[in-house]
Symmetry: C2
Subunit: 254 residues, 2 copies
């Protein structure tokens, strides 16, 4: 049970780079505490200097978010099972954004000091986390591009594609759907639109046969079509970091 949780971290880091057996053992030996958050709970607050823990998501979803003076909210990333939340703050003095639970969230907290120590002792772990950071940065760049230069239809479709691929990579979906627990307002906050316009956009995508919806579940029958509509190529997710061949989670189109 205990092992099962930290092995999630091992598996995650393994997708980033090869780990030595000693490193894997050391990860499984990390001390941790378990914690549950309920939906709108803050896990980290912007400006907080209390960054002693690093959270690993075991189940549920979380998102990072920033607010403008006007009170507008921008979701800058969404995280799921296997993601490390506080790598982004591991060496910083204070948080520069908020992290919030999107759903009921099961977190495994690891002491910052233990993690820093682990990285020192096992460089491959440091490398894996470094790569994780790089992938996050790549996603940020893609989101800037998405929000800055694509129209509503493309933006929303792109987001759906990203989630479908990431959910599958996290072992949570089949790649052809995304049962994302986001409200339309939250989707809007992620792609820089209003909830009203997200609603119209989703309806249009459904009308055009690009997506199917039932409740909050969104699915695709024609992956190539969604990809095209969303101007999506999965390469920025760097899911093939460790694979030698070109086997990929989904056809990425690069």
């Amino acid at each position: 049970m205990v092992q099962a949780s930290l092995s999630l971290l091992v598996n995650k880091l393994r997708t980033r780079t090869a780990l030595s057996p000693a490193a894997e053992a050391a990860i499984l030996d990390l001390p941790f505490t378990r914690r549950i958050y309920d939906s709108p709970a803050y896990i980290v607050r912007d400006g907080s200097t209390d960054l002693g823990q690093c959270g690993l998501i075991v189940s549920g979803f979380a998102f990072r978010q920033k607010l403008t003076v006007e009170g507008a909210r921008q979701i800058v990333s969404v995280h799921m099972r296997g993601d490390l939340l506080d790598l982004q703050h591991l060496f910083l003095k204070y948080a520069d954004h908020n992290i919030q639970a999107l759903t009921r969230l099961e977190i495994l907290n690891i002491e910052r000091a233990a993690l820093q120590d682990l990285i020192l002792r096992h460089p491959s772990v440091g490398t894996a986390m470094w790569i994780d950071l790089l992938v996050d940065a790549s996603i940020y760049r893609t989101w800037i591009t998405n929000v800055g230069r694509r129209d509503a239809r493309t933006r929303v479709a792109h987001l759906l594609c990203e989630f479908a691929v990431r959910l599958k990579a996290a072992g949570l979906g089949d790649g052809g759907s995304c049962s994302l627990p986001m409200t339309q307002e939250q989707i809007g906050d992620a792609v820089g639109l209003t909830s009203v316009h997200v609603n119209r956009t989703l309806k249009a995508l459904e009308r055009d046969g690009v997506i199917q919806r039932s409740k909050r579940d969104i699915s695709f029958t024609d992956w190539q079509l969604v990809r095209r509509v969303g101007d999506f190529s999965a390469s920025y997710l760097h899911l093939d970091q460790t694979s030698t061949a070109g086997e990929s989670v989904l056809q990425t189109g690069r």
Copy 2:
């Protein structure tokens, strides 16, 4: 002369975390080659697997950029003296964006292997670079927010504020101006607007006394005013990582 160049890297990393004398010496001993790029030259191309070098900017400016299928361009970051360009790709198999020279650019190329080795031998260097990565990520998050949730006036002012602060931190400006060698089209590509609208926005900011312009130089007399107009707080730049007190490059307003 040779030392003078790599000492730029030492100084840069020192702003991220304390370095051991041995680490500093090791940095100064890194083998490198110098290279000049002229303005629209590509330094790294999206998809490239040729990521053997890591470039340090000695003089000039560079930017990262992504293109959509529609051919629209989004500039996702701008870099200046002291910035490390390829930390973003150091452990990845291929580039996920383009890096281009914004001006004539003097780069100091360090072998990826030498850098990886340095990080292994001197953990403080790894930490400093890690922090550098974290700050880049923080800037990305801020840009997503800027592009996704602010109006044109605020967006442009925010960008100008960021550059003023970063230029000063890089020893290139007085904090009250930014002589940025960007065309209005490039500014537009950075904030998700058209060049025409950037032009109108800059004129409006000038008319309202927020900025002054002569040629491409933009300056502020009233920093607090620009900050307010741009909804800017410098905290996301984490410039006070190593300072113990609250001394800051500019009044950051947090």
